[in-house]
Amino acid sequence: MRTALGFAAAAIVFAVLAFAPFYLDAYGIGLMIGMTGYVTLASAWGLFSGRTGYVSLATVAFFGMGAYTVAVLNETLPYPVILLVAGAIGLLVAVVVGFSTLRLAGVYFVIFTFGLAELIRQLVTWFETTVTGTLGRYIFLPVGPEHIYWQLLVLCAATLFITWWVGRSRLGLALRVIADDEVVASHIGIDIARTKLALFSVSAVIITLVGAIQAPRWTYVEPAIVFNPTVSFLTLIMALLGGASRLWGPALGAIPLFLLFEWLSANFPDHYSILLGLLFIVIVFVLPRGVAGFAKDLTRRRPGGTPAAPKLDAAPLGTESREARS
């Protein structure tokens, strides 16, 4: 019953949003595109990071790959095929990267994903300057802003639906078990690596598609534009603010923050970065609960979590914690 009501409410919201371009001017549509884009990015980020506790700064790596794929292929392939290719590239990179990095714990994963975005940007730059001899490409696609908006809206709805579905599937249970105790997870038959990889890939493909769909907004694209690390940080802070592990959390964080950032960059273009940094700090300090709730997921083994046993034998504590790391 509550599920049906939720679906009805969501359907109405999305239907109303779908009509927005008929009532808005170009600036308004642009704003809606940016907002829907970030809601989708933050939701896709939360789908993986909010449920696994892995803080990813690779958002812009995938976002940029999506956009750049469109820039490279926009004159050779039909538009729908380009989107498919972009999604496939995102999937491929996610699987390769996921395989090699999802073993990394905590802060190492954060650093790696940040490095990944830079690496890909440098690779693309190097390839363009030394092999193709171009730096910067033009995108000429007959895709109007309202079409970009509608595509993003569909992707956004799909992302929320996938997130909802994961929450009540076996995959969702597997993720909660993994977040609670990886040793138990593996001993009841959960393939931890594959579970994380599956989720990382789904999230990465969505993020890649956001980049690909938004690409026609820029008529001129170069690596520094589409691989701008700010995208990763914004996505992260939006999802954390709203609650990364909740279905609507990232959306609730993304909407006000996006509007705020828009306003800041319009009114204080020179001090935008500084204000952004300050805002990050303020959010972390003012909202310790929202962020702390997430941080709790990060500390998967909680030292105080198991109630004290009345009279356990001498050694077990040490043995168990060593075992947990094996």
Partner: protein
């Protein structure tokens, strides 16, 4: 007739320390075997290798003749090996029922949905937790957490159940309940290897005992005889009074 579980030359080294040294024994279908030994003698390490939590440094582990040594834990679990942990490990943020559902959902033949909920109820009744399905696992008392852990292990419908000091830390009344519970399991024909320091439980539950000391097997036989064995007594007294 191949044994259900068969270890040979099983060895695990941690740096210079050989925690388990050339351990070998067979366990037949339906047997309930006690694995004893003083603290640090390698019992948990042996269990960890059987369940896949640790990779052996050498030797073989076979389940119904099939080598499983060195496979990852989730593969071994899906082949029907379930375990509990020396320090009870429930899933704290899940409910009691969800803890058991987790045991059902990822086994070799997964169970999910309505059928899984019914099965979970059945298992909770079996371990004495009927009507507690919705409670937060974290809030349970120590013995009830142990019950949840057992129900989760049983959910796998294991052909081999490994219990690591499942009866440790219980008060005398709880211990009786615990022993009764395991002996019910034994009567259903499930094969159990249990590590245990509580002699009362070992005598009540295990037809056969294996004793380890400093990583090696020093005795293996019928429980009363093994417990009288001079070397066994020395091994225990040696550490207890050190």
């Amino acid at each position: 007739m191949t044994a259900l579980l068969s270890l040979s030359g099983l060895t695990r080294r941690f740096g210079g320390l050989t925690a388990v040294n050339a351990l070998g024994f067979d366990i037949g279908e339906g047997e309930v075997v006690g694995l004893l030994g003083p603290n640090g003698s390698g019992k948990t390490t042996a269990l960890n290798m059987i369940s896949g939590a640790l990779k052996p440094s050498g030797g073989e582990i076979r389940l119904r003749g099939e080598p499983i040594g060195g496979l990852s834990a989730h593969r071994i679990a899906r082949k029907g090996v379930a375990r509990t942990f020396q320090l009870v490990r429930i899933l704290p943020s899940l409910t009691v029922a969800e803890n058991v559902l987790a045991g059902l959902a990822f086994r070799g033949e997964p169970l999910w949905g309505e059928a899984a909920r019914d099965e979970a109820d059945l298992l909770l009744r079996k371990v004495g937790l009927e009507g507690r399905a919705g409670e937060a696992a974290e809030q349970l008392t120590y013995i009830d957490q142990k019950r949840v852990e057992l129900a989760r292990a049983l959910a796998a419908r294991p052909s081999l159940l490994l219990l690591d000091e499942w009866l440790a830390g219980l008060n005398p009344a709880e211990l009786r309940t615990g022993i009764d519970l395991v002996s019910h399991l034994r009567d259903t024909g499930i094969t159990i290897l249990l590590v245990e320091h509580v002699m009362e439980a070992v005598r009540a539950l295990c037809g056969r005992c294996i004793v380890m000391n400093a990583g090696t097997k020093i005795a293996d036989g019928e429980t009363p005889a093994v417990l009288r064995d001079a070397e066994v007594v020395r091994a225990y007294l040696g550490t207890a009074h050190a």
